[in-house]
Symmetry: D2
Subunit: 347 residues, 4 copies
Amino acid sequence: MRALVKETAGPGMVVRDVPKPTCGPNDVLIRVHYAGVCGTDLHIWEWDAWASARLKPPVVIGHEFSGEVAELGREAAAAGLLAIGDLVTAEGHIICGHCLQCRIGEGHLCRRTQIIGVDRDGAFAEYIAMPAGNVMKLEGIPPELGAVMDPMGNAVHTVLEGGMVVGSRVLVVGCGPIGCFAVGVARAAGAAVVIASDFNPTRRELASRMGAHVTLDPAADDVVARVRQLTEGDGADLVCEMSGHPAGHAQAFAAARLGGRVNLLGTPSRTTEVDFARDVIFKGLTLYGVTGRRMYDTWDVMQRFLRSGQLDPRPVITHRYPLDRMTDAIEVIKEGQAGKVILEIGS
Amino acid sequence: MRALVKETAGPGMVVRDVPKPTCGPNDVLIRVHYAGVCGTDLHIWEWDAWASARLKPPVVIGHEFSGEVAELGREAAAAGLLAIGDLVTAEGHIICGHCLQCRIGEGHLCRRTQIIGVDRDGAFAEYIAMPAGNVMKLEGIPPELGAVMDPMGNAVHTVLEGGMVVGSRVLVVGCGPIGCFAVGVARAAGAAVVIASDFNPTRRELASRMGAHVTLDPAADDVVARVRQLTEGDGADLVCEMSGHPAGHAQAFAAARLGGRVNLLGTPSRTTEVDFARDVIFKGLTLYGVTGRRMYDTWDVMQRFLRSGQLDPRPVITHRYPLDRMTDAIEVIKEGQAGKVILEIGS
Amino acid sequence: MRALVKETAGPGMVVRDVPKPTCGPNDVLIRVHYAGVCGTDLHIWEWDAWASARLKPPVVIGHEFSGEVAELGREAAAAGLLAIGDLVTAEGHIICGHCLQCRIGEGHLCRRTQIIGVDRDGAFAEYIAMPAGNVMKLEGIPPELGAVMDPMGNAVHTVLEGGMVVGSRVLVVGCGPIGCFAVGVARAAGAAVVIASDFNPTRRELASRMGAHVTLDPAADDVVARVRQLTEGDGADLVCEMSGHPAGHAQAFAAARLGGRVNLLGTPSRTTEVDFARDVIFKGLTLYGVTGRRMYDTWDVMQRFLRSGQLDPRPVITHRYPLDRMTDAIEVIKEGQAGKVILEIGS
Amino acid sequence: MRALVKETAGPGMVVRDVPKPTCGPNDVLIRVHYAGVCGTDLHIWEWDAWASARLKPPVVIGHEFSGEVAELGREAAAAGLLAIGDLVTAEGHIICGHCLQCRIGEGHLCRRTQIIGVDRDGAFAEYIAMPAGNVMKLEGIPPELGAVMDPMGNAVHTVLEGGMVVGSRVLVVGCGPIGCFAVGVARAAGAAVVIASDFNPTRRELASRMGAHVTLDPAADDVVARVRQLTEGDGADLVCEMSGHPAGHAQAFAAARLGGRVNLLGTPSRTTEVDFARDVIFKGLTLYGVTGRRMYDTWDVMQRFLRSGQLDPRPVITHRYPLDRMTDAIEVIKEGQAGKVILEIGS
């Protein structure tokens, strides 16, 4: 089958013919229809420090996808939950099921997590084999949206964690695709005011289309002052930090209200200086680090949001390419003009 | 009456005769028996950056105390909850009751908080007037212990926040008086393993006497490795950061388990470099900044702990001085040989 | 001033001239514009067992209202939060502030609660005096809606308690005014599916207008089977029991999913036989009894819902009468053709 | 192998030679050392309405046990968590892993649960095969105690659910073995006052030995009045209802404080009349139905309690019999003179 492969320890990826994956007894073989391109894939393309420390080429890239069930392993078939031809998506974190975290409902933090497209072969390919427990039926969710439920799930996790969103004033710092999803999720989940901040006007426009009441440009606006103004002087009840930048952290901590919450998803590439006394202790803030998606509470809420129409993430998907135009996909992401970019692989 | 007063903008304090405070309609006038000396008082004594920015001399110092009711304002008397002669202690944060935080059960974060002995006259005096709502009867709690319930309440808040303590492995970073209280509170609240870390052997000894199963010396022990070893390789479920030092933060973040919680009470005097990706996001940590005591959930639990005998904080009280020997009290604290130091004022 | 008074221990009420209330130092005197008529007022009108055991005539009736600030007591003025002419509503439960419940954030369960219009003079009058802490500015919320925020707050409390509403399937049992508010609140708070059940077609129609996805008639529909069908066989995540009827309880317990939650607001006039083994223990259900409104978390969320437009309760208000036509108001409620009935008192 | 078998649809059980269970690829074959006799076994022995509706004879009885690993299936061995000879116990609820409840961390409510000794062959036998995921190493916990961790886990679940136990006043209604465990768990988990109520003096004595501060006899004491007296007039913060009797329910609801919580574990054999208005709604109570053990949060806490010595359940184990003296075990339980009865099967 054709697949996009990180073949050697260095920049770039190539389309190659590779063997179709085998389908173990507990596995589901999925014919991939659509796949989402993630910032992580960009890191892998560029072969940065993180990528070179983590990946062992050759590996098929890609961890966000949807497709149809092509084959079921013996145990997977016996469970009776899936049938050949079902349209599905999947959680890309494959977890051990045995560690403390797996046992107490924190499987998203499993210490032996394997991520598809990173630690094992991924979804930028005609077929992928997944453990049956990771696979979910789309049942009415359009397959294009199924391909971006992994990052959308990151947004759901970020917005819902701590149970503060209903009726609250939410600030989303950073309007990349997951930030834009977070705007829509916050609206769907009953936030009263959603403010989104980004330097990039294209991204602010996407955030508006996803339902942000106000968008702010840190280059032109005093974000903290504007948030105060929009929140009766209180500050934001909940801040979703999606930028991963020290300036984003500073904005998040300063804009959160006394007793507020900052959920951090954006992955920083360097350290941040934190004034814990002023910004965390005297403010009584709660900070929370978001990894992946709660398995599977996050998915259940997300599926209901999508099926009910509460959340319509389609504005975020701005570009589509076939598998062999990954170079163009990477280019448009680097230019900062894209929301979510998806690859059209099969159908 | 005699009182310990910060008279001028500079180091030191003096014992002076000052007018007895007036008792307003909602107030209780309390004859002080014992008062606790806090690190905050040391900052005020030394007139550091924080103190010189916050205090407006002259002001009577001291915010931890117990005593007996000497006079009741009209409204306070009408409420019928207190009587002349009752032995009492009091919450030293006087809050507005009207702001968002006060209204939603987060009064400890009231934006108009006035702290006795800092923003208004305090407890190192023969008498103090307090709003009736801040005053609590000791009812069987020894008055000496009543004098340290303010900092003990900080420890209760730190240990209980997040609801993770029952059956868990707790690391207390920093064994000053509040750290030592935290050790005892963690034991009282059902922690399975309590590990305490401090450079100072006197403090480690106090932590042991308060019930720490293991004490560690960061100068000699690999704290993170030892915590792993004592927790089946998991790391600590809950870390109470009481040092306020960047090295303490680093220890806390590294020693917490995946999905663990770090409650931060120690007030840093400078910033800390945080690797959010490695230490918070990929670990799924929750950080929480502890200010004061939940009003009054924290006090209710603390009173029950003390009355039931679950918590016996007496080992932490190591020194006693009369009011006019504050210089000695400051000295013994600075030497690092003290647990909690109390002033014997009346009786 | 004119007021609607329960003058004697027996059925009915009369409009009388009574003295304007005095405004104590902590009080706000409010000129009433609109007031809502509640089922409780019907009980008082009819002088049933509950009413005759609780009320001590003569008492001015009415506990739901909005109006404008006419006078401020000395302390209330000093707090600086309200000004003459402000449009306001108020929490009708006046609490002690000193009991365990008041101290730990459960003031809605204060054991010394006094309810206006029940235990002390109420709002079916030209003026009412309220403690300043109970009074909230409308700030953009239409005064007619301000008059029904008390029962709407009951609905907010019922829907939000337990933090289960976001993305969930909600069943509202009983579509009187508070049930209809609950439908709207569930939609505003991010429920994915809202199902409402009532025998009365007028009420089902109101529930639809408030946003119910499906309405059911227990006389014609198999409610439990239909709920299952609408929830992929699971049952409802959250049931809001607003009927107070044993048949409503049975429906609630049977329709809730395994691990679901039933929040009970409807006040029963008799006992219910409960099969705890089948309906609660083996299902792992949580039941919660709703009293009043959380003070003041519930109000803050409600105010934001109304100001943001997430919640538009206007369809529920079906009838308006002047104060002296209370007999007509009572009549229309008894006929079961009304949603919320309001009295137009001043302006 | 020898096993205690419910052979036919009627009272009694018999010791029989039956085939040793086969050990599937994901299974662990365990040589049973000790097994606990549960009230459920009594129902099965007596063949009451519940038993005759649920069981399909022949079936090996018994669901509480400990033993040593005798054989590991292929997959179970590959997971590397268990080795031949390991001393273990196991969760007796075998769940599907695929339903909503399993997916969102509520596996104890899995709708396809199979209980060993009820729905499939159980532990009153020389060997039992269990799915590897259900098996836990004892690692220092005495095997006798391992045999009663299933019911002890019920007690842990009952006491901890809702997070109210630390520093609280707990009433345990009904002091059978699980009630007595609950007393010990409440003490271990930081309850300030533990009150236990039972008609049976032997059981009250066991509750005292497990750490109850006060025991009450409903035949002689006014339980509700005494609880009030022991809780400063408040009532109990948390009630653990372990009796399953309507009188126990009444006691629980009346003795709980305003805003308190009643966790119900005792399985009633008939309905209870509940005055929801007086006992639940106006009191703001939360009721929760306890099924099984949270998988596996409950087990993790319990293991730590036992290993730390916080919880010593040995006083509850009062009788020991070999497998062929089940008749005597049943007899002593029916006489009401027993705490926990265990069968000594292997070693």
